[in-house]
Amino acid sequence: MLPLIQHEVVDKNRYITYEELVDMISLSESTPGSLAVNVATFVGYKQYGFLGAAAATLGVVVPSFVIIAVLSFFIEAFKENKIVSFAFYGIRIGVLSLIINAFMSIYKSFKKTPVNVFLIVLTFLCVAVFKINAIIMLIFCAAAGVIRAFITGRESLK
């Protein structure tokens, strides 16, 4: 997705600079929502303020909205179909593999410090075993990160 965004927003239309796009990618990590929506809102705002932001965000959402809205009729219509049910039986196994793969690439992407491993194990146990709301664990881990940064000193983050 990123090359497409870069082509349209930076190279072709020059809505924002390459540096601003890089800043947006890092901002996207620490704000909710997906990168595409965040970039759309930012680019729209820079061009025409609030209305621009609303228009660009609407633009990025509409294609998937329309596709899924149409598809949902077919999903409902074929729900009772035997062949479709068989296909989805296999697909659920494939999805399991896709998620395992996603987990492995995320797990590889950061340092396994004792604090990190502790937070992973704690969050996993709380959410998967003790059924604690994931939102509570996200807030807890973010707070733990802030406290850690406060204790170890701001310099350690640079």
Binding site: G33, F42, I68, I75
Partner: protein, 189 residues
């Protein structure tokens, strides 16, 4: 008021979307199952549909759930709910994002959010695993032909994913395997 419920529920989900679609599954699962909007099997089926269509999972799932539970207006409410938090946050930060991103507290929070997102993806692995394999444990566990075949599909598709196979190819091939098992009379629905 189903429309307001959809908007608020997906606003909540949207406000805590860090680290992509699979990290969102525990949140969505919690809300969607509690409201009775879909079953876990339907959610896992939809993960595959979302993987094969454009757009981020957050938007796809909110449109789908909104559509199912309250038609087009429901889909509009759920989708605008999921987008609203990031829209508002980016509007607020558009002028001061540099100071925000480089603030020590934000970096610190991110330090904690990354392992949290990783753990949420791992809990998605567990709940999808349970969805797929728990029927084999329902009474007493017996090694059936369907169990062996399912395990075979699982091993092959995981190997494919590790070898960086295209996700859509993995989905298509596992669908074909499911159809073969079904027509061979192994799957009882």
């Amino acid at each position: 008021m189903i429309y307001l419920t959809l908007f608020i529920t997906f606003f909540k989900i949207g406000a805590f979307t860090f680290g992509g679609g699979y990290a969102m599954l525990p949140l969505i699962q919690n809300e969607v199952l509690n409201h009775g909007w879909a079953t876990m099997e339907e959610l896992v089926n939809f993960l595959a549909i979302s993987e094969s269509t454009p757009g981020p999972f957050a938007i796809n799932i909110s449109t789908y759930i909104g559509m199912r539970s309250a038609g087009v207006l429901g889909a509009i409410c759920a989708t605008s709910g999921v987008v609203a938090p990031s829209f508002i946050v980016i509007l607020i930060l558009a002028r001061c994002y540099k100071a925000f991103s480089s603030h020590w507290a934000v970096k610190g929070a991110l330090f904690g959010l990354r392992p949290a997102a990783c753990a949420l993806v791992l809990s998605s692995v567990l709940s999808v695993f349970i969805t797929v394999f728990s029927p084999f444990w329902q009474e007493s566990f017996k090694i059936s032909p369907l169990f062996l075949a399912s395990l075979g599909i699982f091993v092959l598709s995981t190997a494919g994913c590790i070898k960086k196979a295209n996700p859509i190819l993995v989905i298509v091939l596992s669908a074909a395997a499911g159809i073969i098992l079904g027509t061979a009379g192994l799957i009882t629905i």
